[in-house]
Amino acid sequence: MRRAPSHSYPGLNLGEDHASADKFSEVVTFGFWVFLMSDLVYFGLMFAIYITMIDAQAGGPGPHELFDLRSIFAQTLILLTSSLTVGLAMLALKYNLPRARIVLLFGVTLALGLSFLVLEIRDFMAIVDKGGIPQRSGFLSAFYGLVPLHGLHVAAGCLWLIVLGIQLRVMGLTDLLMSRVVRLALFWHFLDLIWIGIITIVYFGGLTYG
């Protein structure tokens, strides 16, 4: 009789086929969840500041002048697709597909992450061109406190993808590296979650209430 699938931690588990790696992942993934949740508290704080600052525009440019929803739409599509490719990489790992498949999916994710960053930086430059600099108003300070913080996380995730991709090629699928893939996938999905918060609260909320 087949045993019930193991769920040692929230998220996609490696499963019993990876007995030792699955066991190893349990502890470190719990630790990573603690980190993610503390990061979530930080983001929550920045969201709360932004919400209270929506009206604090001090006569400067507001959401209607600054935000370009077309670019936001493109960034959303790119980031959500990258979450899909990370999810596929996790599935490839779980179901023992060739390692090259995982590295390839990492490459696609990296390309999507970098495209997201390029679009976001172009957005920031356009906003600065319209006089939207952080010291202009409380609204803009809060905006620059929150959105680039997410961008910084994406940049860190891209660096992580590169390093882990190299390590996977060099060292192969060891228990340690498999657990790192699990954690990177969690991190990437977490960034997507934050981005959903950003489009709904920063962009749509800003345009509705600003």
Partner: protein
């Protein structure tokens, strides 16, 4: 647990340092220099940030990230102490406990105090 200060009472009974029934392998983290390296780099980094020495701050940021990446390539981070070694060390220590003369509070500054306490429960209550 039978007393308010169980360990002190066990010491008085002479039962404070029992030998375990069996010994197991112990998994320990291996020594690493990453903590010290990050400490020094981030110390210089904070100095640079306070005094607006931007080139130094950028350099330290890059070095910290590179140090972390280099460290992540070192995958042998744990060391196993075999049960036999644990048993030998622990039994040597228990022997030391047995042969050491216990010293009470009144004589803790005396030269023959080798670190083994002789609890004086009467005086404590």
């Amino acid at each position: 647990m039978t007393d308010r200060d169980d360990f002190a009472a066990a010491k008085q009974r002479g039962a404070a340092y029992p030998a375990p029934d069996a010994y197991e392998d112990i998994e320990m983290p291996r020594n690493t220099g990453i903590g010290f390296v990050l400490c020094v780099l981030s110390g210089i980094w904070m100095f640079a940030l306070i005094w607006w020495i931007w080139w130094l701050a950028i350099l330290m940021t890059v070095l910290m990230i590179l140090a972390l990446i280099a460290w992540s390539f070192d995958t042998s981070t744990e060391i196993i102490i075999p049960a036999e070694e644990v048993r030998k060390d622990h039994e040597a220590w228990l022997d030391l406990v047995r042969t050491t003369v216990a010293v009470d509070r009144d004589h803790e500054a005396a030269p023959n105090n080798q670190g083994l306490a002789h609890p004086d429960m009467e005086a404590a209550t």
